[in-house]
Amino acid sequence: MTSTFLFCLTIVSLGAGESHPLTGYDDYDAYLAKTQKLAEDELATATTLGLSDCDREIVLLTLSRGEAKNKPAILIVGGVYAPHVAGSEYALRMAKQLVKAGKKAGPIRTLLTDYTIYVIPRSSPDATEKNFASPVREHVGNERSTDDDRDFTFGEDPCEDLNEDGFITQMRVRDDAGEWITHPEDDRLMIKADAKKGERGRYRLLTEGVDNDGDDQWNEDAGDGVSFNRNFPFKYDAFGAAAGANQASEVETRVVADFAFDHPEIAWVLSFTPEDNLLKPWKHDANKDKLPEKRSVQSADVAGYEAFSSLYKEQLKPAITPNAPAGHGSFSEWAYFHFGRFSLAARGWHPLYDKFEEAPEFKDKREIESLQRLAQIDVEQSSAFIDWKAIDHPDFPNKRVEVGGFKPLIDLNPPAARLDEIAEKHVAFLLEAAKRTPKIVFRNSEITSLGGGIYRIETTLINIGDLASICEMGKITRTPYPLQLKIETPEGAMFLKGHARTTTSVLAPFGGSHKQTWIIRTDAAEPTFRLHAYAPMVKGAKIALPEPPPESPPTP
């Protein structure tokens, strides 16, 4: 449930002695200034797609050498999942790096010549901004005031930093009626008791805070706003937390979706979000394909995703690849399942991607990634985990209550000093990925005079590239524009077979073809016919028939 009341947040500084996990990251003002600075370069322009409820700009950067229109484009989106502020940083830093390198001859200049790169670095600026606040907590929603527990009161039970350490973590309450136990491998980690293993719950596990409204629920309604990454219409969780009043209820969602639909030249999408599919590419699941609405990556697209993934792994080389969360109303899934483009989703960094010594073996593999992470924290002597410490809790006067847990934001966002290096890896990936493309050529083109001013013109369009002219999902959604084949004829020509413009079928990669024949009558002597194959997201091809004689090689 949502209302239109807004609480545009002001930032509170963190307590002394603790640094905010986003230290060195750009808050909105710094971010906006950087986009404006970047737009001073001739390779970049900055425009506003729309304003958030708090009047923050949803900035679009257009990077292109020469005219940005009429060539294929790649859309890069950051700030998708608001606590993942790093995603916004990667996107903007990539743009900066591209512009800088594009000034001189080289592969990046070629990239910016062949493609337009659209970058929306911070798609939900209000939500991103909330994550700079203290106490530190992961804020997914924008500034819309919401009734997260649907009790018709808005934001009546938020979290509190009870131990005043500047972080909202967790509370474990010693209670035999609780469902939780400590992990047999590491007693810092809480897991649910498994009765089948003979385990009996000993703790309740809650987020840090008090029961402000006395309803025996803790921190169930912080009025947390609507998440950009839960507001898209694919697998939308109606009435769910942070999902909004309905799909695309938020201005951020609408301007990004509309931008995509308005730009048919977008060939594929790269977004920064924890629902990574570049390290673990989406798998086809035939069971999920039985519904009229596709819920699983199409089998014909699997090879494409795997090819992008192997290019990505060459750059990232992660030590461990943690599982990615599933999306509900997420941007990245929408971009594939509804927008009909290859949608590449990158988390960019996870602490477990980094190599660390002595990764131990665990017998009990429940929550294995958290166990590995705790081991890494120990090795690195990091402060990313706050050890459980007893406090007096007003709601549990006779019970032992401890506060502790993983610090929020830290595992999503690397130290700021590393952002450039991670962005560079993604630029390198982008360069390689952009080489994967459909390539349309005319072959076997012939013109035959049948006499009486009648000509037969034949040609075959072939895709010699390594991507289909439209991915399989796009074929289903019918959002990408199909290849058009146009023939220009002399004035007054008459079509006996074929038409001036033909929509072709989708051309498969590695040799998919479309054969076309026209029979045309014209009074022109020695007529010339010009063929043009084009689609907004595919580099077009042109040919004239009869073909002009090859140019003689230049005299040395």
Binding site: D215, A238, Q247, E293
Partner: protein, 566 residues
């Protein structure tokens, strides 16, 4: 000597039905374009300032206004807090008489309220929100551009149906310039069609082995863009009634879905308004055609709770009596599946009981079902045209030069009937459909306090028991509303000047409180998730202090009531 004129001021004999001396004269055997509808709404607002307000929800793509008329007795309470009934028309603009039904409803409520005590009470207790034209741009397109009875169903925003980079570049063309898009035929003995033996304007298929006379070439039009296809990219196409947020599916699953729910701005204006009015308890949208009283869900995979279905059944069955020839039907199971339909959003996301009526039934041609589908059989239409329309219903076939086909003939049914009633059936359609909605509006929840009993328990402790009832068919909260917690609960409150403390508050569904539900928090204000239709809830408090006590009930969709003890 016979009187040659009848004074309008003093009707000698008043017929039942419409008021004889309205402040705003209106004619209900004709259709109103956007401007005429707008003028009528303004005239009503001006003539009845204490009972209606006209505002716009915003502008359309074509800079027309999305008129919203609020009708209620403005002298009795805040109209936005009374239980409200929603009515809209012609989200599919070609379904034009839908607008007349809503306009007639506004006119009849305002002009008839002094004559009919029941309307007076209705306007005292209820509010009506009316949006007569959900797609005003396309209404004028239907009136003033060449179309068929089926077009335009979409809006006027350009859309690249064939994704060739060109917008609406190849729609139908009015080759004979008569304002109607009809059919094309060409003389061809191999064409498989011939003239109907009795009604020569009608085309019928030849029997196997029989020689034909004509080949049919589809709708009037040419290949405007040289791609070899005729009329492949006309107005739209997006369907405003596949744009609503419940069970929305993209266009490859649900044809007509646009980009995302409410990506059609006219709908978003309406939805944004409705979201701010939790008092809306009942609703009606008007479409055509076929004579149906439709209820959701629109998808077989979706369900409405049994208790909600029972409410639709009770209302719909009465509707079938009010609307002869109309059938009460489910959208998904009895018509066809619809994702993202308007009424499903109202029911599932706003907790509103809402019907869609498909106006005009071919039953009305000869007051019999002719098994010719929603538009009636061709034979019946031709007979009706001959005997009742005197041959005005068809454009006679006439030769036209066609750039691709050569000499063709153009002719066929005019756009102004088929889905729409002729003048002499229109007023009846308006009145009967309005009557059904007023019945539904009457049956929206109405809370009352049946009794309050006080039993002294000794010292200064009292047991106060109230029976709170809902006097109508519709519950105060539909099952969908309760499930998703869409609108706040009904509140039953006990007060009293000498009331010291409410010790305990509880509810039960039987008078003996055998299985009471206790409400430990704020026991003085008992929250009820719903009060079922024609049903009641027992509320009991144990209080310290002394009477008299005042018990009140307040329901967002069911109104309010108060009772005092001695």
């Amino acid at each position: 000597m016979l009187a040659t004129s009848v004074s309008a001021a003093e009707p000698s004999y008043e017929s039942m039905g419409a008021p004889a001396e309205p402040k705003v004269a209106a004619q209900w055997n004709r259709f109103h374009d956007y401007k005429q509808s707008t003028d009528l709404l303004h005239a009503l607002a001006k003539a009845h300032p204490e009972f209606c307000r006209l505002r716009t929800l915003g502008s359309t793509y074509g800079k027309r206004q999305m008129w919203l008329m609020t009708i209620s007795d403005f002298s009795t309470g805040d109209v936005d807090e009374k239980p409200a009934f929603w009515i809209d028309g012609a989200i599919h603009a070609n379904e034009i008489q839908a607008v007349e039904v809503v306009l007639y409803t506004a006119w009849f409520l305002l002009e008839g309220r002094e004559h009919h005590q029941s309307l007076k009470t209705l306007l005292k207790d209820r509010t009506f929100y009316l949006v007569p034209m959900m797609s005003p741009d396309s209404r004028d397109a239907h009136f003033y551009k060449a179309n068929t009875t089926h077009s335009p169903r979409t809006g006027q925003r350009p859309f690249d149906d064939d994704r060739d980079g060109l917008l609406d570049e190849d729609g139908p063309d009015d080759l004979n310039r008569d304002g109607h898009i009809t059919q094309m035929r060409i003389r061809d003995r191999n064409g498989g069609w011939k003239s109907h033996p009795k009604f020569p304007q009608l085309m019928v298929r030849v029997e196997k082995g029989e020689q034909g006379q004509f080949r049919l070439l589809g709708q009037e039009g040419v290949d405007n863009d040289g791609d070899g296809k005729v009329n492949e990219d006309g107005d739209g196409y997006y369907d405003p009634n596949r744009d609503w947020a419940w069970f929305w599916r993209p266009s490859y699953v649900q044809r007509g879905a646009h980009r995302y729910p409410f990506s059609i701005p006219e709908n978003r204006l309406v939805a944004d308004f409705v979201k701010t009015r939790p008092n809306i308890a009942g609703g009606q949208s008007y479409h055509n055609a076929g004579g149906m009283i439709l209820y959701g869900p629109g998808r077989k995979e979706d369900t409405f709770a049994r208790s909600d279905k029972a409410v639709y059944d009770a209302l719909g069955k009465t509707g079938e009596q009010i609307l002869p020839g109309y059938r009460y039907m489910n959208i998904a199971h009895d018509l066809y599946p619809v994702s993202g339909g308007e009424t499903d959003w109202f029911h599932q996301m706003r907790g509103v009981f809402m019907f869609t009526n498909e106006l005009f039934t071919p039953f009305n041609y000869f007051r019999e079902h002719d098994n010719g589908g929603i538009l009636g059989s061709d034979d019946n239409k031709a007979r009706f045209d001959k005997y009742l329309l005197f041959g005005d219903g068809f454009v006679p076939w006439k030769k036209v030069d066609h750039p691709q086909y050569g000499e063709v003939e153009v002719g066929g049914m005019k756009k102004s009937w088929g889905r729409q009633p002729p003048s002499f059936l229109l007023e009846e359609e308006c009145h009967r459909n309005m009557a059904f909605t007023l019945y539904h509006a009457e049956q929206m929840p109405k809370v009352a306090i049946q009794s309050v009993d006080v039993k002294p328990l000794g010292k200064d402790l009292f047991e106060v028991t109230a029976i709170v009832e809902n006097e109508r068919i519709t519950p105060t909260h539909s099952a969908a509303d309760v499930k998703h917690r869409i609108t706040p609960p009904d509140l039953v409150e006990i007060k009293g000047a000498k009331l010291k403390r409410v010790v305990l508050g509880m509810t039960a569904d039987e008078p003996f409180f055998l299985r009471p539900a206790e409400q430990p928090k704020t026991p003085a204000i008992i929250k009820l998730k719903t009060i079922a239709g024609n049903n009641h809830v027992y509320v009991r408090w144990l209080v310290e202090g002394a009477g008299p006590f005042e018990v009140s009930v307040k329901s967002i969709k069911g109104g309010a009531a108060t009772a005092k003890t001695k």
